[in-house]
Symmetry: C2
Subunit: 252 residues, 2 copies
């Protein structure tokens, strides 16, 4: 049986059950393991020798928190991360995670122009901007941020859902333009090379063509069974497992 | 420069600094990473094929918390853990960690006789009974527990400091007896095959002869430098690194 691509609603339900009184997980624990998975997925795809300088772009929500945890682990994995955090989340946990990164002297950028300059000095981008709670439209400064990311020629590793994609419907045009016949034409979409889905892949990434990892090796067997997630087996002590790509699974 | 073996006082200082307002770590985070290191160290030494049944013996303090986290990860790593927790700690975090294990249907034993029976059906023991805060004498039921562990012929993986050892002076006799000349003679000491030291090894394990891992890949570089810990380099995404054994380091 192949893995289930879950809706936004089921994704929320998993998080809620894990953090309920009966699930008993704290956000600190889950974010630590999620962020560690992200750092491992990046490391499996781009080595610290060839892609040492990682721009970690963080949104204001839990996705950004995963990014902050990943940045810290990437530092310990001998990468040289830089954090872009234009709108720090207000929850205490984000402040603590940011402080942990500052204690490692990881540079933190706030301004979009600094970010663009930082991008030109990076080898790979970890996109932790929007997660499964994202709903269009793109708000400032993230419209400019996504356009900047797609304008540079370095690989993108997206966390959970590529930023700007619909959790249900997948890739969305970053902007459109009238062609010569007066029809609107998609100019650009956001296309990461690597995706790390957390707990289970979301419906919108069903046709993702790049390297696809699953992370979040903490979903209890009974919850996975109840929701028919059909999760693949992880190996050894890995916190991530590679999923067959869409083109591969189409062969079956 | 060789690694520093730290005192109980320095070990406490590291924990305090990490969890201070400026260190910004939560106990949930540190315990998650520490427990994950323990599960990884066990997995590097004893495979889930040959040593599937792991008895995780947990004390009432933070050491026991590390054990509960390790048990959960061992379950996900395809081991079959059983928890022995005779005196559950009262802090909320221990209750949550225990509940997470119960949600995975990991058996939890409370009675020392159940523990002894469980030992006879185990392939390896994870000793998370006492940590660096331990001070003699051994209190009930742990005197009986340590004697039971040393009476079975299965390997022991100890967390941070082998249980019953002095953090400063190392191995302590579990009990002594008068020999034929009326002199007291050590009958038994607690000798684990594998040790996983957390953040930095403690003074008492300087002469430990078995396989020795270091875990806790989260100590900020500046703190390590300030305390002259001389930590070795971890590899790849590993959460543990093997230390040269005492006999090897004696060659230098």
């Amino acid at each position: 049986m192949s893995i289930r691509y879950i809706s936004q609603k089921i994704a929320q339900q998993i998080d809620e059950e894990l953090m309920s009184a009966s699930g008993a997980f704290s956000l600190d624990q889950l974010m630590e393991l999620a962020g560690l998975s992200c750092a491992q997925a990046l490391s499996k795809s781009y080595s610290s020798k060839s892609h040492r300088r990682v721009m970690v772009a963080c949104g204001p929500g839990n996705q950004g928190g995963d990014g902050l945890v990943a940045a810290r682990h990437l530092h310990h994995f001998n990468y040289k991360p830089t954090i872009y955090l234009p709108k720090p989340g207000s929850k205490d946990i984000y402040k603590r995670l940011l402080k942990q990164c500052e204690n490692l002297n990881i540079p933190v950028l706030k301004d979009v122009d600094q970010f663009k300059k930082g991008l030109s000095e990076s080898d790979v981008i970890l996109d932790a901007i929007f997660g499964f709670s994202f709903a269009p439209p793109l708000r400032k400064p993230f419209d400019e941020v996504l356009n900047a990311i797609t304008s540079v020629d370095i690989p993108i590793v997206s966390v959970d859902i590529p930023s700007g994609w619909s959790v249900t419907d997948g890739p969305q045009p970053l902007y459109t333009e009238k062609d010569e016949n007066g029809n609107y034409e998609t100019i650009k979409t956001f296309e990461p090379q690597v995706l790390i889905s957390l707990t289970a892949p979301k419906e919108g990434v069903r046709k993702f063509k790049g390297k696809h990892y699953l992370g979040g090796r903490f979903v209890p067997d009974e919850l996975a069974k109840k929701l028919e997630l059909n999760l693949p087996e992880y190996r050894g002590v890995d916190q991530v497992v590679e999923l067959p790509s869409d083109s591969q699974s189409a062969k079956h």
